[in-house]
Symmetry: C2
Subunit: 237 residues, 2 copies
Protein backbone atom coordinates (compact mmCIF):
# COMPACT_ATOMS: atom_id res chain seq x y z
CA UNK A 1 0.00 0.00 0.00
CA UNK A 2 1.36 3.41 -0.92
CA UNK A 3 1.70 6.07 1.76
CA UNK A 4 0.26 8.83 -0.42
CA UNK A 5 -1.10 9.54 -3.87
CA UNK A 6 0.71 11.41 -6.61
CA UNK A 7 -1.32 13.73 -8.76
CA UNK A 8 0.08 15.01 -12.05
CA UNK A 9 -1.05 18.59 -12.64
CA UNK A 10 -1.05 19.72 -16.25
CA UNK A 11 1.61 22.11 -17.40
CA UNK A 12 0.99 25.06 -19.63
CA UNK A 13 3.22 25.47 -22.66
CA UNK A 14 5.93 28.09 -22.67
CA UNK A 15 6.69 29.99 -25.83
CA UNK A 16 9.71 28.68 -27.63
CA UNK A 17 12.63 31.01 -27.45
CA UNK A 18 15.36 28.69 -28.66
CA UNK A 19 15.77 30.34 -32.05
CA UNK A 20 16.31 33.79 -30.57
CA UNK A 21 18.77 32.40 -28.05
CA UNK A 22 20.77 30.68 -30.81
CA UNK A 23 20.87 33.88 -32.84
CA UNK A 24 22.03 35.94 -29.84
CA UNK A 25 24.76 33.38 -29.06
CA UNK A 26 26.00 33.56 -32.66
CA UNK A 27 26.15 37.38 -32.65
CA UNK A 28 27.93 37.41 -29.28
CA UNK A 29 30.55 35.00 -30.57
CA UNK A 30 31.17 37.26 -33.60
CA UNK A 31 31.79 40.16 -31.19
CA UNK A 32 33.99 38.11 -28.87
CA UNK A 33 31.58 38.48 -25.95
CA UNK A 34 31.28 35.55 -23.53
CA UNK A 35 27.92 35.55 -21.74
CA UNK A 36 27.62 33.81 -18.38
CA UNK A 37 24.12 33.16 -17.02
CA UNK A 38 24.32 32.94 -13.22
CA UNK A 39 21.35 31.41 -11.44
CA UNK A 40 20.42 30.44 -7.86
CA UNK A 41 17.77 30.60 -5.15
CA UNK A 42 17.22 33.93 -3.42
CA UNK A 43 20.06 34.62 -1.01
CA UNK A 44 22.43 31.85 -2.18
CA UNK A 45 25.24 34.35 -2.72
CA UNK A 46 25.17 35.40 -6.39
CA UNK A 47 26.19 39.01 -5.75
CA UNK A 48 28.99 38.18 -3.30
CA UNK A 49 30.31 35.58 -5.76
CA UNK A 50 30.19 38.18 -8.52
CA UNK A 51 32.14 40.69 -6.44
CA UNK A 52 34.91 38.11 -5.89
CA UNK A 53 34.85 37.12 -9.55
CA UNK A 54 35.17 40.70 -10.77
CA UNK A 55 37.98 41.34 -8.28
CA UNK A 56 39.91 38.31 -9.59
CA UNK A 57 39.36 38.86 -13.31
CA UNK A 58 39.01 42.59 -13.90
CA UNK A 59 42.71 43.04 -14.70
CA UNK A 60 42.43 40.39 -17.45
CA UNK A 61 38.93 40.85 -18.85
CA UNK A 62 36.59 43.74 -19.57
CA UNK A 63 33.54 42.78 -17.52
CA UNK A 64 29.93 43.93 -17.75
CA UNK A 65 27.20 42.84 -15.34
CA UNK A 66 23.44 42.75 -15.80
CA UNK A 67 21.56 42.61 -12.50
CA UNK A 68 18.09 41.24 -13.01
CA UNK A 69 15.75 42.02 -10.17
CA UNK A 70 12.05 42.37 -9.81
CA UNK A 71 12.05 45.79 -8.32
CA UNK A 72 15.06 46.86 -6.24
CA UNK A 73 18.54 48.03 -7.21
CA UNK A 74 20.32 46.69 -4.11
CA UNK A 75 22.61 44.38 -6.10
CA UNK A 76 23.49 46.85 -8.86
CA UNK A 77 24.56 49.35 -6.18
CA UNK A 78 26.86 46.71 -4.71
CA UNK A 79 28.33 45.72 -8.08
CA UNK A 80 28.78 49.36 -9.09
CA UNK A 81 31.37 49.57 -6.30
CA UNK A 82 33.49 46.86 -7.94
CA UNK A 83 34.53 48.91 -10.94
CA UNK A 84 32.71 46.67 -13.44
CA UNK A 85 30.19 48.19 -15.82
CA UNK A 86 26.72 47.35 -14.50
CA UNK A 87 23.11 47.72 -15.53
CA UNK A 88 20.02 46.97 -13.48
CA UNK A 89 17.28 45.10 -15.31
CA UNK A 90 13.85 45.45 -13.80
CA UNK A 91 11.75 42.50 -14.83
CA UNK A 92 8.48 44.02 -13.63
CA UNK A 93 7.52 40.92 -11.69
CA UNK A 94 8.79 38.39 -14.24
CA UNK A 95 10.42 35.34 -12.71
CA UNK A 96 13.10 34.69 -15.34
CA UNK A 97 14.89 36.21 -18.33
CA UNK A 98 14.51 34.88 -21.84
CA UNK A 99 16.77 35.55 -24.84
CA UNK A 100 14.92 38.67 -25.98
CA UNK A 101 15.09 40.22 -22.50
CA UNK A 102 18.78 39.32 -22.23
CA UNK A 103 19.40 41.01 -25.58
CA UNK A 104 17.72 44.18 -24.26
CA UNK A 105 20.03 44.02 -21.25
CA UNK A 106 23.16 43.55 -23.38
CA UNK A 107 22.16 46.43 -25.62
CA UNK A 108 21.65 48.58 -22.54
CA UNK A 109 25.05 47.55 -21.26
CA UNK A 110 26.60 48.40 -24.62
CA UNK A 111 24.90 51.75 -25.02
CA UNK A 112 26.22 53.41 -21.89
CA UNK A 113 25.19 57.04 -21.94
CA UNK A 114 26.77 57.81 -25.30
CA UNK A 115 24.70 60.09 -27.51
CA UNK A 116 26.14 58.47 -30.65
CA UNK A 117 24.93 54.97 -29.88
CA UNK A 118 21.56 56.36 -28.94
CA UNK A 119 21.26 57.83 -32.43
CA UNK A 120 22.42 54.66 -34.19
CA UNK A 121 19.87 52.52 -32.36
CA UNK A 122 20.51 49.65 -29.99
CA UNK A 123 23.35 47.20 -30.63
CA UNK A 124 25.28 44.54 -28.76
CA UNK A 125 28.46 45.67 -26.97
CA UNK A 126 31.84 45.32 -28.72
CA UNK A 127 34.06 46.29 -25.80
CA UNK A 128 33.18 43.62 -23.25
CA UNK A 129 34.95 40.26 -22.92
CA UNK A 130 32.78 38.79 -20.19
CA UNK A 131 29.13 39.71 -19.75
CA UNK A 132 27.45 38.26 -16.69
CA UNK A 133 23.71 38.00 -16.25
CA UNK A 134 22.68 37.69 -12.62
CA UNK A 135 19.33 36.06 -13.19
CA UNK A 136 16.27 36.39 -10.90
CA UNK A 137 16.68 34.38 -7.67
CA UNK A 138 14.62 31.33 -8.57
CA UNK A 139 15.43 27.63 -9.14
CA UNK A 140 12.48 26.94 -11.43
CA UNK A 141 11.69 29.38 -14.22
CA UNK A 142 15.16 30.61 -15.24
CA UNK A 143 16.15 27.01 -16.03
CA UNK A 144 13.42 26.80 -18.67
CA UNK A 145 14.65 29.63 -20.84
CA UNK A 146 17.84 29.62 -22.89
CA UNK A 147 19.14 33.18 -22.51
CA UNK A 148 21.71 32.82 -25.29
CA UNK A 149 24.46 32.34 -22.70
CA UNK A 150 27.79 30.76 -23.59
CA UNK A 151 27.68 28.87 -20.29
CA UNK A 152 25.22 28.44 -17.44
CA UNK A 153 26.35 28.52 -13.81
CA UNK A 154 24.31 28.00 -10.68
CA UNK A 155 24.98 28.45 -7.01
CA UNK A 156 23.58 26.08 -4.41
CA UNK A 157 24.21 27.25 -0.85
CA UNK A 158 24.74 24.86 2.05
CA UNK A 159 21.77 26.09 4.14
CA UNK A 160 19.38 25.14 1.31
CA UNK A 161 20.11 21.44 1.77
CA UNK A 162 21.80 18.70 -0.25
CA UNK A 163 18.53 17.41 -1.72
CA UNK A 164 17.95 20.34 -4.08
CA UNK A 165 19.09 18.46 -7.22
CA UNK A 166 16.24 16.00 -6.53
CA UNK A 167 13.65 18.76 -6.21
CA UNK A 168 14.76 21.14 -8.97
CA UNK A 169 16.00 18.71 -11.61
CA UNK A 170 15.93 20.98 -14.65
CA UNK A 171 18.09 23.68 -13.04
CA UNK A 172 20.84 21.18 -12.32
CA UNK A 173 20.64 19.54 -15.71
CA UNK A 174 21.09 22.80 -17.67
CA UNK A 175 24.16 23.95 -15.72
CA UNK A 176 27.75 23.63 -16.85
CA UNK A 177 29.04 24.35 -13.37
CA UNK A 178 27.57 24.24 -9.87
CA UNK A 179 29.16 26.30 -7.11
CA UNK A 180 28.35 24.93 -3.66
CA UNK A 181 28.55 28.12 -1.63
CA UNK A 182 28.74 28.96 2.10
CA UNK A 183 30.87 25.90 2.90
CA UNK A 184 32.10 27.81 5.97
CA UNK A 185 28.79 26.97 7.68
CA UNK A 186 28.90 23.23 6.86
CA UNK A 187 29.35 22.38 10.58
CA UNK A 188 26.00 23.97 11.42
CA UNK A 189 23.82 22.29 8.80
CA UNK A 190 22.90 18.73 7.83
CA UNK A 191 24.48 18.97 4.41
CA UNK A 192 26.34 15.97 2.98
CA UNK A 193 28.74 17.26 0.31
CA UNK A 194 29.36 13.81 -1.19
CA UNK A 195 25.65 13.01 -1.34
CA UNK A 196 25.05 16.37 -3.03
CA UNK A 197 27.78 15.68 -5.60
CA UNK A 198 26.10 12.33 -6.30
CA UNK A 199 22.65 13.91 -6.76
CA UNK A 200 24.13 16.50 -9.14
CA UNK A 201 25.87 13.70 -11.08
CA UNK A 202 22.52 11.89 -11.41
CA UNK A 203 21.03 14.99 -13.04
CA UNK A 204 24.06 16.04 -15.01
CA UNK A 205 27.17 13.85 -15.22
CA UNK A 206 29.09 16.56 -17.09
CA UNK A 207 28.62 19.40 -14.60
CA UNK A 208 31.69 20.69 -12.81
CA UNK A 209 31.11 20.99 -9.05
CA UNK A 210 33.16 23.51 -7.07
CA UNK A 211 32.72 24.02 -3.29
CA UNK A 212 33.35 27.67 -2.38
CA UNK A 213 32.84 30.32 0.24
CA UNK A 214 32.33 33.61 -1.54
CA UNK A 215 32.43 35.51 1.75
CA UNK A 216 35.91 34.27 2.74
CA UNK A 217 37.22 33.58 -0.78
CA UNK A 218 37.78 29.85 -0.20
CA UNK A 219 37.66 27.86 -3.44
CA UNK A 220 37.17 30.98 -5.56
CA UNK A 221 40.41 30.49 -7.49
CA UNK A 222 39.25 27.14 -8.88
CA UNK A 223 36.05 28.89 -10.02
CA UNK A 224 37.70 31.92 -11.63
CA UNK A 225 40.34 29.70 -13.30
CA UNK A 226 37.55 27.58 -14.76
CA UNK A 227 35.68 30.67 -15.95
CA UNK A 228 38.76 32.26 -17.51
CA UNK A 229 39.46 29.03 -19.39
CA UNK A 230 35.88 28.98 -20.72
CA UNK A 231 36.17 32.58 -21.93
CA UNK A 232 39.45 31.78 -23.74
CA UNK A 233 38.01 28.63 -25.34
CA UNK A 234 34.97 30.63 -26.48
CA UNK A 235 37.05 33.34 -28.11
CA UNK A 236 39.26 30.81 -29.83
CA UNK A 237 36.34 28.53 -30.84
CA UNK B 1 25.47 61.33 -12.03
CA UNK B 2 23.87 57.91 -11.57
CA UNK B 3 26.09 54.88 -11.06
CA UNK B 4 24.12 52.69 -13.46
CA UNK B 5 21.12 52.67 -15.74
CA UNK B 6 17.81 51.04 -14.98
CA UNK B 7 16.03 49.31 -17.82
CA UNK B 8 12.36 48.36 -17.49
CA UNK B 9 11.73 45.05 -19.23
CA UNK B 10 8.15 44.46 -20.33
CA UNK B 11 6.08 41.96 -18.43
CA UNK B 12 3.73 39.48 -20.00
CA UNK B 13 0.20 39.28 -18.66
CA UNK B 14 -0.83 36.41 -16.45
CA UNK B 15 -4.30 34.97 -16.77
CA UNK B 16 -6.64 36.18 -14.08
CA UNK B 17 -7.52 33.53 -11.58
CA UNK B 18 -9.11 35.68 -8.93
CA UNK B 19 -12.65 34.56 -9.63
CA UNK B 20 -11.78 30.87 -9.27
CA UNK B 21 -9.86 31.58 -6.07
CA UNK B 22 -12.81 33.46 -4.57
CA UNK B 23 -15.17 30.62 -5.45
CA UNK B 24 -12.85 27.99 -3.93
CA UNK B 25 -12.52 30.05 -0.74
CA UNK B 26 -16.31 30.31 -0.45
CA UNK B 27 -16.79 26.53 -0.89
CA UNK B 28 -14.05 25.78 1.64
CA UNK B 29 -15.69 28.03 4.20
CA UNK B 30 -19.01 26.22 3.72
CA UNK B 31 -17.22 22.95 4.45
CA UNK B 32 -15.33 24.34 7.44
CA UNK B 33 -11.95 23.78 5.80
CA UNK B 34 -9.19 26.34 6.53
CA UNK B 35 -6.60 26.43 3.75
CA UNK B 36 -3.09 27.66 4.55
CA UNK B 37 -0.80 28.50 1.62
CA UNK B 38 2.80 28.09 2.78
CA UNK B 39 5.49 29.67 0.59
CA UNK B 40 9.27 30.19 0.72
CA UNK B 41 12.54 29.93 -1.19
CA UNK B 42 13.95 26.45 -1.80
CA UNK B 43 15.41 25.07 1.40
CA UNK B 44 14.01 27.69 3.80
CA UNK B 45 12.48 24.98 5.98
CA UNK B 46 8.85 24.54 4.87
CA UNK B 47 8.76 20.78 5.46
CA UNK B 48 10.47 20.88 8.87
CA UNK B 49 8.09 23.67 9.93
CA UNK B 50 5.15 21.55 8.76
CA UNK B 51 6.34 18.54 10.75
CA UNK B 52 6.45 20.66 13.93
CA UNK B 53 3.07 22.20 13.12
CA UNK B 54 1.38 18.84 12.60
CA UNK B 55 2.94 17.49 15.80
CA UNK B 56 1.56 20.45 17.78
CA UNK B 57 -1.93 20.56 16.26
CA UNK B 58 -2.84 17.02 15.23
CA UNK B 59 -4.65 16.28 18.51
CA UNK B 60 -6.88 19.34 17.99
CA UNK B 61 -7.36 19.52 14.21
CA UNK B 62 -7.78 17.06 11.35
CA UNK B 63 -4.90 18.04 9.06
CA UNK B 64 -4.32 17.37 5.37
CA UNK B 65 -1.16 18.38 3.52
CA UNK B 66 -0.60 18.98 -0.20
CA UNK B 67 3.07 18.83 -1.16
CA UNK B 68 3.67 20.66 -4.42
CA UNK B 69 6.91 19.73 -6.07
CA UNK B 70 8.16 19.76 -9.61
CA UNK B 71 9.21 16.18 -9.73
CA UNK B 72 10.26 14.45 -6.51
CA UNK B 73 8.28 13.05 -3.59
CA UNK B 74 10.94 13.69 -0.94
CA UNK B 75 8.73 15.99 1.14
CA UNK B 76 5.55 13.89 0.95
CA UNK B 77 7.54 10.90 2.23
CA UNK B 78 8.66 12.98 5.20
CA UNK B 79 5.17 14.31 5.95
CA UNK B 80 3.64 10.83 5.58
CA UNK B 81 5.62 9.90 8.69
CA UNK B 82 3.81 12.56 10.73
CA UNK B 83 0.43 10.90 10.71
CA UNK B 84 -1.24 13.68 8.69
CA UNK B 85 -3.03 12.86 5.46
CA UNK B 86 -0.76 13.88 2.57
CA UNK B 87 -0.86 14.08 -1.20
CA UNK B 88 2.02 14.88 -3.53
CA UNK B 89 1.21 17.33 -6.32
CA UNK B 90 3.50 17.14 -9.31
CA UNK B 91 3.43 20.45 -11.10
CA UNK B 92 5.25 19.15 -14.19
CA UNK B 93 7.71 22.01 -14.16
CA UNK B 94 5.25 24.74 -13.18
CA UNK B 95 6.65 27.30 -10.78
CA UNK B 96 3.51 28.01 -8.75
CA UNK B 97 0.02 26.78 -8.00
CA UNK B 98 -3.11 28.67 -9.01
CA UNK B 99 -6.64 28.22 -7.66
CA UNK B 100 -7.61 25.53 -10.20
CA UNK B 101 -4.52 23.46 -9.42
CA UNK B 102 -5.12 23.88 -5.69
CA UNK B 103 -8.69 22.66 -6.16
CA UNK B 104 -7.37 19.54 -7.94
CA UNK B 105 -5.07 18.97 -4.97
CA UNK B 106 -7.86 19.40 -2.42
CA UNK B 107 -10.11 17.03 -4.36
CA UNK B 108 -7.27 14.51 -4.42
CA UNK B 109 -6.80 14.92 -0.69
CA UNK B 110 -10.54 14.43 -0.17
CA UNK B 111 -10.90 11.38 -2.37
CA UNK B 112 -8.42 9.15 -0.58
CA UNK B 113 -8.64 5.69 -2.09
CA UNK B 114 -12.34 5.30 -1.52
CA UNK B 115 -14.18 3.60 -4.36
CA UNK B 116 -17.38 5.50 -3.53
CA UNK B 117 -15.92 8.97 -3.99
CA UNK B 118 -14.28 7.82 -7.18
CA UNK B 119 -17.72 6.95 -8.55
CA UNK B 120 -19.33 10.20 -7.38
CA UNK B 121 -16.69 12.33 -9.09
CA UNK B 122 -14.23 14.72 -7.47
CA UNK B 123 -15.30 16.89 -4.55
CA UNK B 124 -13.70 19.01 -1.84
CA UNK B 125 -12.98 17.26 1.47
CA UNK B 126 -15.50 17.47 4.33
CA UNK B 127 -13.41 15.80 7.02
CA UNK B 128 -10.40 18.14 7.20
CA UNK B 129 -10.14 21.19 9.49
CA UNK B 130 -6.78 22.46 8.30
CA UNK B 131 -5.51 21.89 4.75
CA UNK B 132 -1.96 23.07 4.12
CA UNK B 133 -0.53 23.68 0.69
CA UNK B 134 3.26 23.53 0.64
CA UNK B 135 3.77 25.63 -2.47
CA UNK B 136 6.74 25.29 -4.89
CA UNK B 137 9.96 26.74 -3.41
CA UNK B 138 9.99 30.11 -5.15
CA UNK B 139 9.68 33.72 -3.95
CA UNK B 140 8.34 35.10 -7.22
CA UNK B 141 5.58 33.23 -9.02
CA UNK B 142 3.55 31.76 -6.14
CA UNK B 143 2.97 35.30 -4.82
CA UNK B 144 1.20 36.24 -8.05
CA UNK B 145 -1.56 33.65 -7.84
CA UNK B 146 -4.35 33.60 -5.28
CA UNK B 147 -4.75 29.90 -4.48
CA UNK B 148 -8.05 30.38 -2.66
CA UNK B 149 -6.24 30.13 0.69
CA UNK B 150 -7.77 31.43 3.91
CA UNK B 151 -4.36 32.80 4.89
CA UNK B 152 -0.91 33.07 3.29
CA UNK B 153 2.24 32.29 5.25
CA UNK B 154 5.85 32.57 4.13
CA UNK B 155 9.13 31.47 5.60
CA UNK B 156 12.27 33.55 5.24
CA UNK B 157 15.37 31.78 6.54
CA UNK B 158 18.28 33.63 8.11
CA UNK B 159 20.92 32.44 5.58
CA UNK B 160 18.96 34.09 2.75
CA UNK B 161 19.64 37.55 4.14
CA UNK B 162 17.60 40.35 5.70
CA UNK B 163 17.20 42.24 2.40
CA UNK B 164 14.74 39.80 0.82
CA UNK B 165 11.65 41.99 1.44
CA UNK B 166 13.35 44.64 -0.73
CA UNK B 167 14.00 42.19 -3.56
CA UNK B 168 10.79 40.16 -3.55
CA UNK B 169 8.22 42.81 -2.62
CA UNK B 170 5.06 41.04 -3.79
CA UNK B 171 5.72 37.90 -1.73
CA UNK B 172 6.00 39.90 1.46
CA UNK B 173 2.98 42.07 0.69
CA UNK B 174 0.61 39.11 0.15
CA UNK B 175 1.55 37.33 3.38
CA UNK B 176 -0.45 37.39 6.60
CA UNK B 177 2.46 35.99 8.57
CA UNK B 178 6.22 35.73 8.02
CA UNK B 179 8.20 33.10 9.91
CA UNK B 180 11.88 34.01 10.18
CA UNK B 181 13.38 30.54 10.37
CA UNK B 182 16.80 29.13 11.32
CA UNK B 183 17.37 31.74 14.04
CA UNK B 184 19.77 29.25 15.67
CA UNK B 185 22.39 30.20 13.03
CA UNK B 186 22.02 33.99 13.52
CA UNK B 187 25.56 34.20 14.98
CA UNK B 188 27.06 32.89 11.71
CA UNK B 189 25.30 35.22 9.25
CA UNK B 190 25.05 38.96 8.69
CA UNK B 191 21.33 39.08 9.36
CA UNK B 192 19.82 42.00 11.25
CA UNK B 193 16.49 40.88 12.70
CA UNK B 194 15.30 44.41 13.45
CA UNK B 195 16.23 45.65 10.00
CA UNK B 196 14.36 42.70 8.47
CA UNK B 197 11.26 43.46 10.57
CA UNK B 198 11.43 47.04 9.33
CA UNK B 199 11.71 45.96 5.65
CA UNK B 200 8.73 43.63 6.11
CA UNK B 201 6.75 46.46 7.73
CA UNK B 202 7.54 48.68 4.71
CA UNK B 203 5.98 46.08 2.41
CA UNK B 204 3.19 44.99 4.67
CA UNK B 205 2.44 46.80 7.94
CA UNK B 206 -0.19 44.20 8.92
CA UNK B 207 1.98 41.09 8.61
CA UNK B 208 2.73 39.19 11.81
CA UNK B 209 6.45 38.36 12.10
CA UNK B 210 7.52 35.35 14.19
CA UNK B 211 11.19 34.33 14.58
CA UNK B 212 11.46 30.54 14.86
CA UNK B 213 13.79 27.60 14.61
CA UNK B 214 11.83 24.70 13.17
CA UNK B 215 14.72 22.32 13.80
CA UNK B 216 14.91 22.96 17.56
CA UNK B 217 11.28 24.03 18.05
CA UNK B 218 12.13 27.53 19.31
CA UNK B 219 9.30 30.02 18.69
CA UNK B 220 7.01 27.34 17.25
CA UNK B 221 4.39 27.73 19.96
CA UNK B 222 3.77 31.37 19.02
CA UNK B 223 3.29 30.21 15.43
CA UNK B 224 0.95 27.29 16.13
CA UNK B 225 -1.07 29.41 18.60
CA UNK B 226 -1.47 32.04 15.90
CA UNK B 227 -2.51 29.41 13.35
CA UNK B 228 -5.00 27.74 15.67
CA UNK B 229 -6.59 31.11 16.38
CA UNK B 230 -6.92 31.79 12.63
CA UNK B 231 -8.59 28.41 12.08
CA UNK B 232 -11.08 29.08 14.89
CA UNK B 233 -11.85 32.59 13.61
CA UNK B 234 -12.39 31.17 10.12
CA UNK B 235 -14.84 28.51 11.31
CA UNK B 236 -16.76 31.01 13.37
CA UNK B 237 -16.70 33.73 10.69
Amino acid sequence: MKEFRILEIKQSVFADNDRQAGELRRELRERGVFLLNLMSSPGAGKTTTLMRTIEALKATLRIGVMEADIDSDVDARTIAGSGARVIQLHTGGMCHLDAAMTRQGLEGLGAGDKESSRKAGPSLPQDIDLAILENVGNLVCPAEFDTGASKNAMILSVPEGDDKPLKYPLMFSVCDVVLINKIDVLPYFDFDLEKCREYIRMRNPGARVIPVCARTGEGMKEWTDWLLEQVKDWREG
